[in-house]
């Protein structure tokens, strides 16, 4: 990744000063999210898909389902695979080529949220124990980078999974025969991810690009529908105090409730 453009010092100072007084450059409160727009089922060829717009950040996620071999240690369970692409058209700082550490980290954070909350009922995705199971490919595709890719990607992934339809099938002599009709992918939990940035020793939620560029550190928390924490990731060159971490956990509990209503409609 090419280094991001430098944020002008006066602007850096201004963002910092505003945050210190509980305000932000775009008029949001410290824990406000940008406007969230969600569309689902936009890619017909994919089993499930969603596009999330978080302000100007835009992420599309597609779900493909294929059959394959299970892992030997869990022969009765389907397989979840998450991949993230920082597509070069999304930002002047993204470059073509294999996923860099940022893309790998993004994919693994999204993966951890879905996996650790046991969101997908993987045990229902077994065709023949030890031989054939369904593999759920979650492909996160970043289309426009304006900060907080993690939350947008996690939201898009959950929305796409909730929108995923599996084809009906019959097993005939070890071969899958596709039958007409679809059933929804079995989902039991709804993990929601929120990301804090620390600027001037204050925590803000949903940092946009310039806030991300000047933040000291980043803290991402994923909570499931029972309000339990299922994944955490600290990032960035700075640090958090234990008080800040516990404060973040409390804010995260409230905020994930609120966001869940947006992503999981009905």
């Amino acid at each position: 990744m090419t280094p991001p453009p430098i944020v002008v010092r006066v602007k850096q100072k201004r963002i910092g000063e505003l945050v210190s007084s509980g305000k932000r450059l775009d008029g949001r409160g410290l824990t406000d999210y940008r406007e969230i727009q969600l569309e689902v089922g936009i890619i017909e060829r994919a089993e499930g898909s969603a596009r999330v717009r978080l302000g100007k950040t835009e992420v599309m996620t597609g779900i493909k389902i294929e059959t394959g071999q299970p892992f030997p240690d869990v022969p009765n369970e389907g397989v979840l695979t998450v991949n993230a692409e920082l597509v070069p058209l999304a930002s002047p700082t993204f470059e073509p080529g294999p996923p860099d550490e940022n893309a790998v980290e993004l994919a693994r954070i999204v993966d951890r949220g879905i996996r650790e909350s046991k969101a997908i009922e993987l045990e229902k995705l077994c065709v023949e124990p030890g031989k054939k199971v369904f593999i759920v490919f979650v492909d996160v595709y970043v289309l426009n980078h304006d900060g907080n890719l993690i939350d947008a990607s996690a939201m898009a992934a959950l929305a796409a999974l909730l929108n995923t339809k599996m084809f009906n099938y019959e097993l005939e002599g070890g071969e899958l025969k596709i039958k007409p009709g679809y059933t929804p992918l079995p989902i039991r939990n709804h993990p929601i991810t929120v990301t804090f940035a620390k600027i001037n020793d204050k925590l803000i939620l949903d940092p946009w690009l310039e806030e991300e560029q000047i933040m000291d550190a980043r803290l991402t928390m994923t909570l499931d529908k029972d309000g339990k924490i299922c994944a955490i990731q600290k990032g960035g060159y700075g640090y958090f105090t234990t008080q800040q971490i516990l404060e973040a956990a409390k804010i995260a509990r409230e905020k994930t409730e609120e966001l869940r209503k947006v992503v999981v409609k009905g």
Partner: protein
Amino acid sequence: MKIPKRKTEKKKSDPSQKKPEKLIDKDDMRLDGRKLDELRPVKIEVGVLANADGSAYIEQGKNKILAAVYGPKEVHPRHLALPDRAVLRCRYHMAPFSVDERKSPAPSRREVELSKVIREALEPSIFVEYYPRTSIDIFIEVLQADGGTRCAGITTASLALADAGIPMRDLVAACAAGKADGHLVLDLMDVEDKAGEADVPLAVMPNLNAVTLLQMDGSLTIEEFEKAINLALDGCKQLYTLQKEALKSKYVAVKEDVEE
């Protein structure tokens, strides 16, 4: 010429490695005889590699990890250099023989992620602004893994940085806490990590109360999470003492050598 891929016979897993029925017995004793809040036996050595500017070695339970630091030195390739500070680079890598089933030496996605979070855990401790246009390279090699390698790697690499004489705000000590069989436990070993309910690796600069690495997977209520953090911090403090001892003992040895 392309070498045809040969399918290797998967080693039948050792029955002792299978998920045990219980991780913690009724007397709150763990499988390796530890108490819930007890660290594994730790052995640390500083200055173990001749070529590196700084190095350290740790044994924590069955973990055996080497860390080396090269730098500050000229950056290659040069365009990566930063005008106002040193570039910190970090590679966390597991030896193919470090785990039960041979691990491919090519960096896995897990190693790519861990290299990044370890770098971000160590960077806050270093005065990178003292060395503009240079790089400081950290290499962590896991020779044998038994759970908690990222934490042990950080504990070791921080000592290697100190051994290289790089100015630091504090040492970084790292330790995981987690939940196994419904109990909060300190310093998870491999089985507890795999069969347990949650794992919370944490790194801290103890003198500054600055948490530089925090990850979690599993499932914890916020109250349990708070307890887990405090438990992990406690473990870090114990490791911090051991780190300082190890660092001092190197110089005691040097002093004795000189006086002879």
